[in-house]
Subunit: 333 residues, 2 copies
């Protein structure tokens, strides 16, 4: 029997219909088996081709890298939003618009062309997280920006146009809709229970362990109760903390370790699937900035949303999160 | 310069970034060129294979069809929701869920295996719309259902698992999230302006004609001001009317004609792209049922939403709706 489940924060309903699909490992069909070399002379992100990208915003170096950089942050050459302009809202008849103001940056995660995120050595993952943090703290100084979204597309089917390992960030002059849904949901939950829903979720998931993939001292990785997508995974700090960028180095060490662990399990269990991850961080300004509980969402791209999903916003998930958690728990990275 | 545009109803922001993409007709690369026969002996929807599907719920016939039916409605063999069960909400710790109650039906649109919707003769399109209407009016009698979503997936990339022309409907025990966004936005607009935003949009688009694709006596097809997707098209009745299923036959004749016209233009301009369409109808019950202004949304599936879209809910549209409207206006069906 399919089940309708309600997201405890956003109140979005999801259909969990385990029977529609055969066994979950059928998904390994989506495996991308294409082979890539460790260096591609035509790749703008490979060492030696630095002149093909705009000048660097941030460079992290180390002693033993083959190139003179370890992580590079550059402006996106084809930005979705531009740094020039102001945030004045304008009207035209019944419609509202504004300049496409924002920042769009690329974090090149390693000099090596053909790695997946889960292949990066732990030290390198930490460097990438440090780059996220430094860029957020720097962009925060620009008071036009209200939100910064860090995200990563792994594989063409997840929207990656270049193979070389990279993540991106976009700074926005408002809090985006998806994040507002969470913020409003957190407020509603708080006004009803006087507790943070993410803190409650940590407690509840740790008590019953049905949907826990893995945990360490400071973080927990779960398959959410109302997962929209098969093997959707959320990593969240165990104790309430609004802002990723304000976490201490030792906390981020713990985060690097669970992030690498979880992505390795997903890659192994599902055969290197395409996926996205997005960092749900607190808004940079405003009332809601302190109430937030930051987290990271990983979405393997195993199914195609169709007319029903687009028209209703209701997703049909053919792998119950309890099944997904069991599979990922048993997959050792 | 990219532009940020706000949907006047849902308040969702969209990035219109025409420069990121080269010319729009680059999209014709997504053309599906696979050829199919008019009859496939293995297709469960082809005439002669009626025993492969569950028994019919509704059959429309005509004199000159090669089979003994013209349109068939059947229960989905692999339903996302099931007709058995009740709508009682249940709790488990902090989480809420309910039985996966609903109806999931398939409307087989023609006995001919290899047509696209735009290939259907006008008379056949009218029959399909009549089937939608009759099924909505019948399912409405089941008081457990609050909303019925009619939708169509054309092409594998749009989620269609079977080639034979068909649409689907799912009856739900609540108003889905995407529709609630519209209803809440309509209320907000109404409380501010005391007018229906869709009625205002009809007037404004007809006045400036920048985004109008085509119109007839009773309907208007536009590329919305804050289109999330390239060539997203909305067909809406010119005069306020909440419910598709309560429209008279002569109004539906007009709707059939503009629907076929618009889909023919899209197929021709974009080289038979994958697409979805969804019928945004009024809820079956409740306060909001009378305030709605029904419409149909067509979404060509030309781009892949990536991490940014999933994490923010903000879509990057590389074809400004004004450009899309110009192209579709000039494409004669």
């Amino acid at each position: 029997m399919p089940e309708l489940r309600k997201d405890p924060i956003t109140f979005e309903w999801v259909i969990i219909a385990g029977e529609r699909k055969d066994r979950p490992h059928d998904f390994s069909k989506t495996t991308s088996t294409e082979e890539f070399p460790p260096f591609d002379p035509n790749c703008p992100f490979c060492p030696g081709n630095e002149h093909l990208t705009p000048p660097e915003i941030l460079v992290l170096r180390d002693g033993h890298s083959s190139s003179n950089w370890s992580v590079r942050v550059i402006p996106n050459k084809y930005p979705a939003l531009r740094i020039e302009g102001n945030t004045e809202r304008k009207g035209k008849g019944m419609f509202d618009y504004m300049d496409g103001v924002g920042a769009h940056e690329v974090i090149v995660e390693t000099p090596i062309h053909n790695l997946r995120f889960s292949d990066l050595p732990l030290e390198q993952v930490k460097k990438v997280l440090t780059a996220y943090k430094e860029r957020i703290l720097d962009l925060k100084k620009d008071t036009r920006f209200v939100y910064i979204l860090v995200f990563r597309n792994e594989g063409k089917e997840a929207g990656a146009s270049l193979r070389h390992p990279h993540s991106q960030l976009i700074a926005l002059p408002f809090v985006p809709h998806e994040v507002m849904l969470e913020i409003e949901g957190m407020r509603r939950y708080y006004s009803f229970r006087e507790r943070c829903p993410f803190c409650d979720m940590v407690k509840e998931e740790l008590q019953f362990k049905e949907r826990v993939v893995v945990e360490n001292e400071n973080f927990l990785a779960i398959e959410p109760f109302a997962s929209k997508y098969p093997f959707e995974t959320v990593i969240l700090p165990k104790r309430h903390h609004p802002s990723f960028a304000d976490e201490s180095e030792c906390i981020l060490d713990d985060f690097a370790s669970i992030l690498k662990d979880v992505l390795s399990r997903i890659d192994k269990a599902l055969g290197n699937p395409p996926y996205n991850f997005t960092l749900h961080n607190t808004p940079l300004q405003g009332q809601s900035a302190n109430g937030f509980h930051w987290h990271l969402e990983i979405i393997p791209r195993l199914s195609t949303p169709a007319g029903f999903e687009l028209g209703s916003g209701i997703f049909i998930n053919t792998v119950p999160p309890e099944t997904a958690a069991e599979i990922l728990k048993e997959t050792l990275p």
